[in-house]
Symmetry: C2
Subunit: 335 residues, 2 copies
């Protein structure tokens, strides 16, 4: 089952979306919003599944699904906690700012609590007041949980994953060093992120959802050129069950919590940071990695951070080449 | 006007509470939940004010307001961001763990993004799985905002403050050093916090709400003994307008965002860290400060962190000695 929220009010209007994302059916008679569905998932999910079946069989009224009309599936959420599960990414970005990677990072998940009061829709612009802030994209996988009781194990946590999607976790690289130096994590350096047009249930993903990881190529284009083709199922040191269990060690997690993987990042066969797509590699899921690799390969970073007018596309394709979660496609605008 | 949420479902049931907290009137015909009221505040606040007037005049059905039946006014919220506005506290706690305070901390607000998916009611127990985690209370002031547009100034931000209340921002001191050393802020070391039984509009607070600060003595008792009597209006380096503007520099803040002051803390007249209440001082609003001062005065910390069975009370009194926001009264329990 695929679920989305059409733009309407603060929380959108829940729709069930067809597998090919061409059609949707209003689901507001079952639950007005995705949060409401997550709040009562055991009872409502079967009804939504029936609606999805009816939509697939074309036995109910349907409307065209336009990704540009989609809000974030959760336009606001009660929690957004983002991991750094691809430790390769952490190592590269730390290297980029001259910081070392402690050994414990390979065994103890790194996470931060993010702002969840505003998620952008997949086609919404990225507002950027000052290009000097060093705006970066970060293409990631997210899951949405049900209620997770405090102290849940990894295995229990996996059973509470309701939905899977993509995020562009926008970062302001220029503001990060000073903010992290203060010791309390990100505040100003993490503006609103954008979510994929639809979120998808684990069963709908079949073989792609395995061992608490999403398997598939995370496609990232920058200004129409291939930028990232990383495999999301590879090099993910901490699966989502581990991330959720880490977050929930000392407290309950509420239904609708969004948990991020951190920037998807692959190592080379030789353990190195790989190569840009243009040089035959898998590329990167954020500019900071690209810039670090350029520095290693060429002595200096050539790729600038995002400027006004730049466009970012993030998606993942099924075997027929269709976007599973729809496509995040954002333009950076002055504001 | 004073607003509370009686325990009911995930978000409670909105009630208007009498000034003396003895009575309440159901407000669910105006807005089912406090979040719903905040989502449409311009339209609904006047209706809630009328209800409050009717309650004061005893012209409508009313019921007894029991603080034990109160959920947190916002049992879950879309944002919880906590400042460290009493820089004196930051200096002491840093000293306690051997870290220095950068000069910039006196001019650049320190904040962290906290988990907002679960706030405890004022009488809810503090669940603590392991006493070795070093459980601490932190008595603070909070404000709740309406929608704050990105880049709002301090003065604009002040105009978006809808409600004021208290929080016990529970911290697990034993988990903090390792977590902060990872560089991304708090995750496991900040379990669910408890909010005061009611939140209060700025106008209702009269002279106590001034210059973006709450003025009054923040009362903290530990196991029935006076522990803290700090003046919330003193030594607050950053007022709430400044904190909100800091948080909102790069993104919009959604209605219902809860912003904390950080642990309330006063300096002595001589600039020192003051004295415990038992020694004639104003005491402290968290155990970590008390332990640091004991270390300074006596060479070693004598006050332990919270153990199972310990009780914490946090409140602020009006001139008649009544609790303005009700009383947070929590017992630590094994779980």
């Amino acid at each position: 089952m695929k679920l989305g929220s059409l733009k309407s009010g603060r929380d959108g209007r829940l729709v069930v979306v067809s597998n090919d994302l061409a059609w949707c059916a209003d689901a507001s008679h079952i639950a007005p919003t995705l949060q409401a569905a997550l709040d009562d998932w055991e009872r409502l999910a079967p009804q939504l599944e029936l609606l999805a079946t009816d939509l697939a069989h074309e036995t109910i009224p349907r409307e065209r699904f336009h990704e540009r009309e989609a809000a974030a599936p959760l336009p606001r959420a009660y929690q957004w906690a983002d991991g750094s599960a691809y430790v390769n990414h952490v190592e590269l970005v730390r290297k980029a700012r001259g910081a070392v990677l402690p050994d414990s990072f390979w065994t103890d998940p790194l996470m931060y609590q993010g702002g969840s009061d505003e998620f952008l829709g997949a086609r919404d612009a990225i507002p950027l007041a000052d290009e000097a802030w060093g705006c970066d994209l970060e293409a990631e996988i997210v899951v949405v949980t049900g209620d997770v009781p405090r102290g849940a194990s990894r295995e229990e946590a996996l059973g509470h994953i309701r939905l899977i999607g993509l995020v562009n976790d926008v970062s302001l690289r220029g503001l990060i060093p000073a903010e992290l130096a203060k010791g309390f994590g990100f505040v100003q350096s993490k503006p609103a992120s954008a979510l994929s047009p639809v979120f998808v249930t684990p069963d709908e993903l079949g073989e792609r959802w395995k061992d608490g990881k999403l398997h598939g190529t995370l496609m990232v284009d920058l200004n129409g050129e291939p930028f990232g083709r990383a495999e999301a199922g590879e090099d993910m040191t901490f699966d989502f069950g581990t991330l959720i269990a880490h977050l929930g060690k000392t407290r309950n997690l509420g239904a609708g919590s969004i948990i991020g993987s951190g920037t998807v990042s692959n190592r080379d066969a030789d353990g190195g940071p790989g190569r840009p797509v243009a040089r035959g590699g898998r590329g990167y899921s954020c500019l900071a990695e690209m810039r670090m690799v350029e520095t290693i390969l060429d002595g200096a970073a050539a790729t600038p951070f995002l400027k006004h007018g730049d466009t970012v596309r993030i998606w993942m394709e099924d075997k027929q080449g269709r976007a599973i979660f729809g496509t995040i496609e954002q333009t950076v605008v002055a504001s």
